[in-house]
């Protein structure tokens, strides 16, 4: 009995001393960039022996968790406005850009064969256009045989940053959508089927013949779903891929974006994908522990610099170098422990 007790104490001491050396970093939020964050945390553990836990619980939950201080950083696809950031003493900076793509399951239609414009897309998702062989769709796709079948709309059943990006785009291209449905992490869906998270939507589109839905690009590639081309602001039909996401990202004017508030939907540029989004990291300006704050910022710095290739492999667009310099400069200015600066860029 005593031996066991001693052994137990020894183990406890060993574990707790180990824990105090390598404090892990905890984050939670958006599921949109989660495929990249998963690889980053693994690689970072291998390279720097620091453990990062990221829970992909959704943007809203990420914001709630950082506000209630249960995590070291939050992640969100929906940027917070400068006023809200200041109110809670938070800083926000962009981590990745990526595309929300429209996927469809129509018999006989190949990948990127179908073309739609934003207004038609809004009409489909509001249930105004109910059949694939509707004159508007047919006239946009002359030369493509479109089957006469009902459209099954698939959307997110849970609140989601992906939905926010998607409905933000629909609001910009369709006044009617803005008036009747609006833009939000979840909205009043008048048509269709709800799927749980990105994989749920991908799955339902796969299951339902004649289905159309929206997911983050990686999930469409993973599920081998057919994407469709969209008409962008310049009036050109574009395929969703990393090039068209990059083109949309290049048009962003970060210098004049207070709190890095940036929405990349319906951006100018002949090659720009119209439904591009930015995903953000949120953390407190006033940190409690200098060592922990430094290790957190070191991790983000590593993500920006060493993580870019991984992000590109997973079809996300890394943040441009000039913007990284801007962000790291603002860390140096804004993030403090007891009034002392933590980061020297």
């Amino acid at each position: 009995m005593q031996k066991m007790l001693k052994a137990g104490i020894a183990v406890t001491i060993a574990v707790s001393s180990f824990a105090s050396i390598a404090k892990s970093i905890n984050g939670a939020g958006a599921s949109f960039p989660a495929p990249v964050y998963r690889v980053w945390t693994y690689n970072y553990k291998q390279a720097k022996k620091v453990k990062v836990n990221y829970q992909s619980v959704g943007s809203g939950a990420g914001i709630n968790q950082i506000k209630s201080k249960t995590v070291d950083f939050g992640a969100s696809d929906k940027p917070l406005k400068k006023a809200e950031l200041d109110k809670f003493g938070l800083v926000q900076f962009p981590m990745l850009m990526g595309g929300v793509v429209v996927v469809a399951n129509i018999p006989g239609i190949k990948n990127n064969q179908l073309k739609l414009d934003g207004l038609t897309l809004a009409k489909i998702f509001s249930g105004e256009i109910r059949r694939w062989n509707h004159p508007t769709i047919v006239s946009m796709n002359l030369g493509t045989e479109i089957p006469a079948m009902p459209i099954n709309v698939v959307h997110r059943s849970d609140g989601s940053g992906t939905t926010w990006i998607f409905t933000n785009y629909l609001c910009k291209v369709s006044p009617n959508w803005e008036k009747t449905i609006g833009c939000g992490k979840s909205v009043k869906w008048t048509a269709g089927y709800g799927g749980q998270k990105n994989p749920g939507v991908a799955n339902n589109v796969k299951k339902l013949s004649g289905a159309i839905g929206y997911v983050e690009y990686t999930y469409a590639v993973e599920a081998k779903l057919n994407t469709i081309q969209l008409k962008n602001k310049a009036g050109k039909f574009v395929k969703p891929d990393i090039k068209s996401f990059q083109s949309a990202g290049a048009s962003a004017d970060w210098e004049n974006a207070p709190g890095y508030y940036m929405v990349l939907t319906n951006k100018a540029g002949a090659k720009s994908w119209p439904i591009t989004g930015v995903t953000y990291i949120l953390m407190y300006k006033k940190q409690k522990n200098a060592a922990e704050a430094k290790s957190l910022l070191k991790y983000f710095d590593w993500c920006y610099k060493q993580g870019a290739s991984v992000a590109e492999k997973l079809k996300y667009v890394p943040i441009p170098k000039s913007v990284i310099a801007m962000v790291e400069k603002s860390w140096g200015k804004e993030i403090t422990v007891n009034g002392k600066k933590v980061w020297q860029p």
């Binding site: 709630n64 609140g159 979840s186 009043k188 709800g194 299951k207």
Partner: protein, 302 residues
């Protein structure tokens, strides 16, 4: 250590300690229940104040303008539960009766074993099975047999999956209830010339009425609150059911879908939905108890 042992073994003291321990545990259960109820009411208050009684009868669900109504979720819950019970209760009754009354032990032992195993399968498994196998099956079944374009997602599919889920559960309890019927009573009835059906219906069923009803209510309780198995196949739109093939949602599915992202009045509305679910379960319990009392009065018990 030794004195402690002595003190514990001292029967009078031991009894006292044991008694207060039991009373404390029992009290804890009721405290938990009361606490849960108070907390739900507390968090639901903003929604109750904002929407009032209209919350219960409105089918509006608009997260952008923050207007919420519970009718789609409540009606969806009632419909799927009704479908599940209509299918599951008669079948489990017949199966349980067969297992106890007429099956040979060689057959009834393995079936019983399988039944217990099925009753222990986590509901998410039923949900996954529903999504990957049952939804496509329903699609093809209705298309080829009746020519109906049913997507496979909707109340009917949700209700049937719930039925599969609660069937082994209800059946296992019913079987145990039937087993409790004294064989002397049954043998007496057989001796008086009763048929198998008469013995089952007049003796076993009436003897075990309470237990059988209890089984139904346990199944009902499980069906009302079931989340994952339904969420995968119900369609997840805030629609009031118009047909069995329609798509909609249930209270539990609405909660699971929206809770992690919810804030403000939406969160409060979700708490009110939870409160409604709790009250519904309570109502079922009370109704069940009333009915049991009536049944036992009719049978001349007190």
């Amino acid at each position: 250590m030794a004195t402690l042992k002595k003190q514990l073994i001292n029967p009078e003291k031991f009894d006292k300690v044991f008694k207060s321990l039991c009373a404390g545990s029992a009290l804890l259960v009721s405290l938990l229940m009361a606490g849960l109820f108070i907390q739900l009411v507390y968090y639901a208050l903003p929604a109750i104040r904002t929407f009032g009684f209209k919350f219960l009868i409105s089918s509006e669900w608009d997260p952008v303008n923050n207007i919420y109504g519970a009718l789609p979720a409540i009606s969806g819950t009632l419909l799927t539960t009704a479908i599940a019970l209509i299918i599951a209760v008669p079948i489990s009754f017949i199966v349980a009766m067969y297992l106890v009354e007429s099956a040979s032990p060689k057959l009834s032992t393995p079936i019983s074993f399988a039944l217990d195993l099925l009753a222990a399968v986590p509901s998410i498994i039923y949900g996954m099975w529903g999504l990957f196998i049952f939804v496509p099956f329903m699609q093809k079944f209705f298309k080829s047999l009746f020519g109906i374009d049913y997507s496979g997602f909707g109340f009917l599919t949700g209700g049937i999956i719930l039925a599969f889920m609660i069937l082994p559960f209800i059946c296992a309890i019913m079987r145990d209830v039937f087993k409790l019927v004294p064989s002397v009573t049954k043998e007496a009835a057989f001796g008086a010339g009763s048929t198998h059906w008469e013995v089952s219906y007049d003796i076993s069923m009436k003897y075990g009425a309470k237990g059988l009803l209890g089984a139904v209510f346990l199944g009902l309780g499980r069906a009302v609150g079931e989340t994952m198995a339904v969420l995968f196949v119900i369609g997840n739109v805030q629609n009031v059911p118009k047909s069995l093939f329609g798509r909609g949602t249930t209270i539990a599915a609405t909660l699971a879908n929206n809770f992690s992202e919810a804030e403000g009045i939406l969160k409060s509305s979700l708490f009110e939905l939870g409160l409604i679910l709790l009250v519904m379960s309570l109502g079922v319990q009370v109704l069940g108890q009333l009915w049991l009392n009536r049944v036992s009065r009719q049978m001349g018990e007190k």
